[in-house]
């Protein structure tokens, strides 16, 4: 196992801070993820897993506690600094794909590289490679509305890999897909994990998907109630 890529210490997230009905969403979370791990965060809705994902993904700041991402403390950054960290360190995969409309698959994959300031030629070449990798090489110039759900999610994964970030953060990536295409997407994650050694954090409420990962962190009412190695992790290996 590699070094600690995510280290969250005593993370608290409250909403309506200072008001009488202050909400305590995350209560003193400690979470450490090593480089190359494939872990899932599970929990019922309202357990705080979305809030935790937003914090891991540097979309939000904790109320208190420290978060060191790949050696960089990110708790007190400005919005633009946070944008920069997301751009370089995190590859997002969303449940609803969130491809940019009116931009073809290639342009969508180029986007994080554009924000990173990469030159146009390099950008296009890398985007083409990534689309080939996810098996979308023949649909590079299709608009999102011309793609099926599974195809969209594959483009989204290619986009998440664009800047070669150390972490992929996937929020219910198969939630909007049927079981067959969902299987294909999961296989893609396994492949990326095994071939490139990417750290993958999968947020899900589906125990079957969680069982495919190496480690399952269970949240309940804003606290980690279980953190264990998954028993059936061999299942994913067989499929890939």
């Amino acid at each position: 196992m590699g070094h600690e890529i995510i280290r969250m210490t005593d993370i608290v997230k409250n909403y309506f801070i200072g008001l009488p009905n202050e909400l305590h969403i995350l209560k003193h979370i400690d979470l450490t993820v090593r480089e190359g791990e494939f872990l899932s965060i599970v929990g019922a809705s309202g357990s705080g897993k979305s809030t935790l994902m937003n914090l891991i993904g540097v979309l939000d700041r904790p109320t208190s506690g420290t978060y060191v991402l790949d050696g960089t403390p990110v708790g007190k950054m400005t919005d633009d600094q946070m944008s920069g960290v997301r751009n370089r360190k995190i590859g997002f995969v969303f449940q609803t794909f969130n491809l940019i409309p009116r931009n073809d698959a290639l342009k969508n994959v180029e986007l994080p590289m554009l924000y990173a300031g990469m030159a146009s030629g390099t950008r296009v070449r890398r985007a083409e490679e990534l689309l080939e990798l996810v098996g979308m090489g023949d649909r590079m110039h299709h608009q999102p509305n011309e793609l099926s759900g599974g195809q969209k999610q594959r483009v989204a994964i290619a986009r998440a890999l664009a800047n070669d970030p150390p972490i992929l953060l996937a929020d219910e990536p198969t939630g909007a897909l049927d079981s067959e295409t969902g299987r294909l997407v999961m296989d893609l994650f396994h492949r990326v994990h095994e071939k490139d050694g990417k750290t993958i954090v999968l947020i899900t409420h589906n125990p079957e998907l969680a069982a495919e990962t190496e480690r399952i962190v269970t949240l309940k009412d804003g606290a980690v109630v279980s953190d264990r190695a998954a028993e059936g992790k061999a299942v994913g290996r067989q499929c890939s």
């Binding site: 919005d79 920069g84 997002f92 491809l99 554009l114 924000y115 990173a116």
Partner: protein, 422 residues
């Protein structure tokens, strides 16, 4: 910031929603179009007026008898008021002694008496004319270019001879091409006055901007027929003169000389309680034309500004709608690492592109409109390149101004909220 990508993005966005984009642009199109149209038409009219005036000559001064209360306005010259008396007008003796006194500065004095419009006819041949009584000085002051024969002379005026100087147009209408018109007689009927005149000279007719209407066919064009002023006076209501014009020897002194003329005639009219004399030089007249044009321009600029303001608000409105519609997209972009400056630039560029395209369409539309208007009144269209550039630049500025607020709003969206937006 990522200008090329932003422009491509904006154009793709506009294309995907053509009708809405067009309606958004309409305010800008109308604003820019109306400004371009009026400025171009105004430019054509001003150019035409100055052409006409330059044709008359910059060193020309006109002297009018004017009512005392109106003497400070240049635009409201009452010519031939009903309560005028023969003694209120300028006599030819007064003009003669005036001319002798300033002989060093005056190159010619022109007297004229309008007879009216009519035609000369010989069987089925005819020519439209406007009969004007003139003295020999008329030729120099009004720049009449002789082709054949001579202009009217002092002896024609003194003897009241029935002679006429006609245009080459009249000649081509009335005579066969080889015929010598000099010495030929023509029968004129103008304002009910029938008289026969002997042609002594032919001048070259020049269509000037103001007088040559586009409507009349070449054959029917009305040209002036000059007859001795004394002959015209036989039919006139007043024997003395309501006005006369003169040409100074030097162009630069005409304004100064105009003041001397005023002084000279105000002495003569000192005892007249109702009327006085006032001189107008061309610069004076030009400035009154210019001031009318300026007033019109300001009015149109105000209308254009209002249209552009309304157009700009329309652009802002549609940009706000666009920001709301694309909330998720903005959230995604932020999640992927877009800084707020980039999001702001993206929306400002889009607003600028809308306004730029609107501005360009507006310019084309305005020029077409101006061309139509100018062609209808028979003038030539001149498009001012600086005005076009300023208009397009200004419409882009509107894009920046009215696009800024929606863009700012977009850039400040919280990525978590935006990603959750349905």
């Amino acid at each position: 910031m990522f200008l090329k990508e932003n422009i491509q993005l904006a154009v793709a966005g506009l294309k995907s929603n053509r009708m809405r984009s067009f309606l958004t642009m309409l305010g800008i199109i109308i604003g820019i179009g109306s400004v371009i149209a009026i400025v171009s038409i105004g430019g054509a009219v001003t150019a035409s007026v100055s052409d006409t005036m330059a044709g008359i000559g910059a060193n020309m001064i006109q002297v009018y008898v004017t009512p005392r209360e109106a003497q400070n306005t240049t635009t409201n010259v009452t010519v031939g008021g009903n309560n005028m008396d023969e003694s209120d007008l300028i006599t030819s003796d007064q003009i003669g002694s005036f001319q002798r006194k300033f002989a060093d500065e005056i190159s010619a004095v022109s007297l004229e008496e309008d007879v009216g419009v009519g035609k000369v006819q010989d069987g089925h041949r005819y020519a439209n004319i406007s009969a004007v009584g003139a003295n020999p000085g008329y030729r120099e002051v009004s720049n009449v270019k002789m082709l054949q024969g001579r202009f009217l002379q002092d002896r024609d005026v003194k003897a009241g001879r029935r002679v006429a100087v006609v245009s080459d147009k009249l000649v081509s209408n009335m005579f066969r091409s080889r015929e010598n018109p000099l010495g030929r007689e023509v029968s004129m009927n103008a304002s009910g006055w029938e008289e026969t005149f002997t042609i002594v000279g032919v001048y070259k007719f020049e269509r000037s901007g103001m007088m040559g209407g586009a409507a009349s066919a070449d054959k029917d064009v009305r040209t002036q027929m000059y007859i001795p002023v004394s002959v015209a006076k036989e039919q006139a209501r007043y024997q003395n003169y309501l006005y006369f014009s003169l040409k100074t020897k030097s162009v630069t002194d005409s304004q100064a000389f105009s003041k001397k003329v005023d002084k000279y005639f105000s002495k003569i009219y000192a005892d007249n309680s109702k009327y006085t004399c006032r001189s107008y030089d061309m610069e004076n007249m030009m400035s009154s034309v210019t001031s009318v044009m300026n007033t019109i321009s300001i009015a149109v600029a105000a209308i254009g500004a209002i249209a552009l303001l309304v157009g700009g608000i329309g652009v802002m409105n549609i940009m706000l709608v666009s920001v709301t519609e694309r909330t998720r997209e903005i959230g995604t972009r932020k999640a992927l690492g877009a800084r707020s400056g980039y999001i702001r630039a993206q929306f400002i560029v889009e607003a600028v592109i809308i306004c730029l395209i609107g501005g360009v369409i507006g310019v084309v539309f305005g020029i077409l409109l101006a061309w139509l208007g100018v062609t209808l009144i028979g003038m030539k269209l001149t498009v001012s390149v600086p005005i076009v550039l300023i208009s397009v630049g200004f419409s882009m500025l509107i894009g920046v101004f009215f696009g800024y607020y929606p863009a700012k709003k977009a850039s400040r969206l919280d990525p978590i909220e935006a990603l959750r937006y349905e």
